[in-house]
């Protein structure tokens, strides 16, 4: 038997029953396409979620007032107002002599109030932030400028608007130089920020930024910070700097060793880890659902091959009568089911990838930062799984074929 003969026989057999062949391949195509699509969508969704967190900066440390468990929610989340984080703490963090790895730090206070422009009045969130904010977070100014450092201490009554809130207050555009009134205090708009997209995390689009001191004294009447963020020069230093921050603030807050601190420090990295493992679980969950359709496709192959064996029992008998060994018959049928799965696999990968690509064209139009990602592993896995399915589900029919008696060729109906 020549090497090419089994392929020729398989080709003839498959082209002889095109509809059955097509439907069986279709089962695999659907299975593989859905696995690829789900794996790709999972990777893109994970990238989106992690990207939004990372856009805040993966080398950020958050300092929160009040004690909290490392993995639990901060005390703030329960509505507990802690006054333990002060402007003094912020200055200590910013002071390069204390922790040189910290590039800069910013303090935050937040509130909600009615904001009025000449024509509109809306309920808006405002944020009192240090002028150092752009050194800590990625804040991009669309027009105008951000605060100058001295405006922090000068109690300047100026505002930098998020793009969304700017549009709402000044529907005719050009907010620069206009006045926004919050709690009857007029703020001159000096800048408008770039649109950041509908991120789930910390979107600045709908926030009115005002200088920290102004917000604390004029609007809120408080002397503490809601939270602070510190940017560490290098990501690998984050964990060490976290310990340093604990040491520094423990000292400032007179916390004895062994005593529970009245603040907590969190790195974004730990948040990312949690999100990564969550999204991974979600990915595997989705892939396993898609894999069920691949399994169904495999059962389809088995079914189809069993029908083929029954339909071709005389042909098999004849081949054996003229000298085909059981192993050769088995190989030929196994080859057919592997051809079906591999062909289905290739088409399925193409369809899955094109669907994922189509999704990457449509979803960004809905405002999400959706990337076209097809993990190479998903293609490798699909191909491998196809081959295994072809073998596993083809094996039983092929064995059955190999056991057909050559006397079947002589049976005359």
């Amino acid at each position: 038997m020549k090497l090419s003969d089994p392929y020729r026989i398989a080709y003839q057999a498959l082209s002889a029953s095109r509809l059955r062949f097509f439907l069986t391949v279709l089962g695999i195509v659907i299975g593989v396409a859905s696995v690829i699509l789900v794996m790709s969508a999972g990777a893109s969704a994970q990238r989106l979620i992690l990207g939004q967190v990372e856009s805040v900066g993966s080398n950020l440390l958050a300092v929160l007032p009040g004690a909290s468990e490392e993995d639990g929610p901060p005390a703030m989340a329960f509505g507990v107002v802690s006054k333990t984080l002060t402007n003094g703490d912020l200055e200590a963090l910013r002071d390069g002599r204390n922790i040189p790895e910290i590039v800069d730090a910013a303090g935050y206070v937040t509130g909600t109030a009615i904001a009025e422009s000449d024509s509109e009045d809306i309920v808006a969130s405002y944020q009192g932030v240090s002028a150092s904010l752009p050194n800590v977070e990625t804040v991009k100014v669309e027009s105008g400028r951000f605060f100058f450092p001295d405006e922090d201490t000068r109690m300047a009554r100026i505002a930098v608007l998020g793009s969304g809130v700017a549009g709402k207050l000044f529907p005719n555009g050009d907010a620069l130089g206009k006045v926004v009134t919050i709690k009857r205090i007029p703020f001159t708009v000096v800048g408008v920020l770039k649109k950041r997209g509908s991120g789930t995390f910390s979107s600045t689009d709908d926030i009115i930024h005002i200088p920290l001191d102004t917000a604390q004294k004029d609007l809120l009447g408080i002397k503490y910070l809601n939270y602070a963020r510190a940017k560490v020069g290098r990501t690998e230093d984050v964990d060490r700097v976290k310990t340093e921050v604990y040491r520094l603030l423990n000292q400032r807050h007179d916390i004895e060793p062994g005593q529970e601190p009245d603040f907590s420090v969190r790195s974004l990295e730990s948040t990312l880890d949690i999100l990564r493992s969550l999204t991974n679980v979600l990915k595997f969950f989705l892939v396993s659902i898609a894999a069920i359709s691949l399994l169904v496709g495999g059962i389809g192959i088995m079914n189809s091959m069993l029908i083929a064996v029954n339909a071709r029992v005389r042909e098999i008998g004849l081949r054996k009568a003229v000298g085909a060994r059981p192993g050769e018959i088995m190989f030929q049928f196994l080859l057919e089911s592997i051809i079906i799965t591999l062909l289905g696999g290739i088409i399925g990968i193409l369809i899955g990838v094109s669907f994922a690509y189509a999704a990457s064209l449509i979803i960004p139009k809905l405002g999400y930062d959706w990337q076209f990602l097809v993990p190479l592993s998903s293609i490798g896995v699909s191909f491998g799984v196809c081959f295994v399915i072809g073998m596993v589900f083809g094996l039983y029919p092929a064995r059955k074929a190999s056991k057909v008696s050559p006397m079947e060729a002589l049976r005359y109906e």
């Binding site: 038997m1 003839q12 081949r319 054996k320 009568a321 003229v322 000298g323 059981p326 006397m407 002589l410």
Partner: protein
């Protein structure tokens, strides 16, 4: 001696009940003989042919092919012997559908482990010996019954086997095509091929030189044909 059968038996055992299909078959067939195995249905003639053709295994007795004990051979060795030493012609032709005449005849060569050489020449020579070389590229479905059986004979010949087994080869044919097929067998016999023909018709059986008559699983007579028929002459009468 080409075929030596000694007390050959086939007994089917089904849930403790034994059904004998072949009993006590003892005979010899020489190289070049033309033998008919004849008997009504259920007489065991097909069972005997299956065993002689290495399609089935006996449950008792001895069977030597060219002096070689074949009872103990493995399935793979039997397949190789069928491929090299034996050709089959079936009542229902058993050509592969949607496959060309050429490819049908080529089939045994696909499973020939010795030579993948000059396939084309061998197929065409086999087709020529049954006067079907002009139909090589036809599909099997485009042929008449007689033509199909001639292609099937070419398939049986392509590996140049020693023995041809024919199982009711004229059963599906009109009398003219049937005679054509018998003429081919007689010609092959003259060229030295051993031919074993299974049939229930006396007319067909009498084209052979020798008839083994069977009844209820036993060989009841084994004699030469006194007035042998020759397909050549009958063919002329039909015309």
């Amino acid at each position: 001696m080409l075929i030596e059968a000694k007390r050959l038996a086939k007994i089917y055992a089904n849930e403790g009940i034994e059904t004998p299909a072949l009993l006590d078959a003892t005979f010899q067939i020489d190289q070049g003989e033309f033998v008919s195995i004849m008997g009504p249905s259920g007489s065991g003639k097909s069972t005997l042919m299956h065993i002689l053709g290495l399609l089935d295994r006996s449950t008792g007795g001895e069977y030597r092919l060219e002096g070689r004990d074949v009872v103990s051979l493995s399935d793979d060795e039997l397949a190789r012997l069928r491929n090299e030493e034996i050709g089959f012609v079936f009542q229902a032709f058993n050509l592969l559908p949607r496959t060309s005449v050429f490819e049908n005849v080529e089939l045994p060569l696909l499973y020939d482990r010795n030579s993948a050489e000059n396939t084309k020449e061998r197929v065409m020579a086999a087709l020529k010996s049954v006067n079907m070389e002009h139909r090589a590229s036809f599909f099997s479905s485009q042929l008449s019954g007689g033509e199909k059986q001639r292609v099937a004979i070419a398939r049986a010949l392509v590996n140049n086997p020693k023995i041809i087994f024919a199982d009711e080869p004229t059963g599906n044919l009109d009398s003219k095509s049937g005679l054509q097929v018998m003429r081919i067998f007689q010609k092959l016999s003259e060229e030295g091929k051993t031919i074993i023909l299974v049939t229930h018709e006396t007319f067909t059986a009498e084209h052979a030189k020798r008839i083994l008559r069977m009844m209820d699983g036993r060989i009841v007579s084994d004699e030469s044909v006194a007035n042998r028929r020759f397909a050549d002459q009958e063919n002329m009468l039909l015309k």
